[in-house]
């Protein structure tokens, strides 16, 4: 009887598999058959969209390499006022959200609450309060239970909601500004942290030429599209800062990274954050 049952079960499973009722995931350890030739050109379509890494993605590696000393820039949070044009506000919103990731890394509840308030204020000024309200509430709830993982996820979602809404409203440039502001602040914090306890492994995290190149192209395109004024001045400053960073990275790739070069990158980011705070 058991043998019959076993036979019946096996035949049922085989039939189900044949009919496609059960689709078991397969684990394939073998190498992919796809290869790239020696030719530099790509035989296909390259997707232009570049996903900018979150600060927490890099903080995670620094933590594994023995990083600490995360400090929130309280001055920035106290002074994150609505100034400048819409591009300036979007850049500042990106900076403030990045500060939220720093706050989560530092496990600083007061900083997170302050970031939440600033995100709401800036989103309100940009007409996007509704998009971030639920995320800010979720962040504040998570602060009460010290759920830092949820806080990081909600900052990611808040930024994505803002950018998606901007893109739906044909404000792709503003969405880019949020990404640019966030990346500048995140990279500044990483560079400062690496500079404090320098190792080659930690410094390698700053090797982000694809991201810098992409942000530079986007910033220059926006600068050409704006018609003068404070936003243009700010975008020109951001572009110049990114160009300086490209130069530092090129030298580092030729001669090697050093604590000094990490600090130089940190200084450029810090100066840019200062300009974004001033809104001009």
């Amino acid at each position: 009887m058991p043998l019959r049952l076993r036979k019946a079960s096996i035949s049922t499973i085989l039939c189900s598999l044949a009919l496609g009722f059960i689709s078991l995931p397969q684990v394939l350890a073998e190498k992919s058959l796809l290869t790239l030739g020696d030719d530099e050109s790509f035989p296909g379509v390259i997707v232009e969209n570049v996903v900018i890494p979150l600060p927490s993605e890099i903080f995670l590696v620094l933590d594994k390499l023995g990083g600490d000393g995360w400090e929130v820039n309280r001055e920035l949070l106290e002074d994150a006022r609505v100034r400048g044009g819409r591009e300036g506000m979007a850049l500042l919103l990106g900076v403030v959200i990045a500060e939220g990731f720093v706050g989560a890394q530092a496990e600083d509840p007061e900083a997170i609450r302050s970031v939440g308030r600033n995100v709401l204020r800036l989103a309100d000024a940009l007409g996007l309060r509704e998009e971030v309200e639920a995320h800010c509430q979720a962040i504040l709830d998570a602060v009460d239970s010290s759920d830092w993982k949820t806080i990081r996820a909600e900052f990611d979602r808040a930024e994505l909601s803002v950018r998606s809404t901007m893109e739906r409203m044909d404000d792709e440039d503003l969405a880019q500004c949020v990404s640019i502001g966030g990346w500048i602040r995140g990279t500044g914090v990483v560079a400062e942290n690496i500079g404090k306890a320098y190792t080659a492994d930690r410094a390698e995290l700053l090797n982000q030429s694809l991201i810098i190149e992409h942000l530079q192209v986007e910033t220059d395109r926006m600068t050409n599209a704006t018609e003068g004024g404070r936003s243009t001045d700010l975008l020109v400053a951001v572009s110049a800062g990114l160009a300086t960073m490209t130069g530092i990275l090129e030298t580092a790739n030729k001669e090697g990274f050093s604590a000094l070069r990490s600090q130089q990158l940190g200084t450029v980011c810090s100066e840019l954050v200062g300009r974004i705070r001033e809104g001009k």
């Binding site: 684990v27 992919s32 796809l34 290869t35 790509f42 997707v47 979150l54």
Partner: protein, 167 residues
Amino acid sequence: MRSSSKLMIQPARAVSKLRVVLGMGFFAVLVFGSFASQIAAAPPVLAGKGIARENARLTTKELVDQGYVIRGDSWSGEALVGGRVGIRHQLFKGNEYVFTLGTAIPVEFQMAIFTKNREPLQGEMKTSPETLSIRVNPTETGTYLIVFTLTSETKERIPWALVYAYR
């Protein structure tokens, strides 16, 4: 009386108005019906990408329990059958990544991640009819090229979405 006659509609007029209303209604049905059939006949690109993203997200959901963070950002598009699609992406040495490619229909997948020296990263792949996941540990921090092809016998253009998680 005059005022009330203004409010009354003569039977003949009423019939003609009814005809007009019915005619307009018929016209509206024709127009909207035509639009509706066009919408139904049009390739559901957006819906396809949405389903592809949902399939990819559902597959990555189980990674949360393994300590992965799933990024809200993703890529999506439409691929020609057998055509190569490349996505440049920044990876950080020290993190482990899982990229999940989703489609709206069952397809055959090929996917690899290449270093700047055009060498494929070794990884573990997991497939189902509508998703393929690849788990990799980057050997250095920098730009990588994610390349994939999709094959189907029923469709020429396949909506896809790529999501990723890290830990």
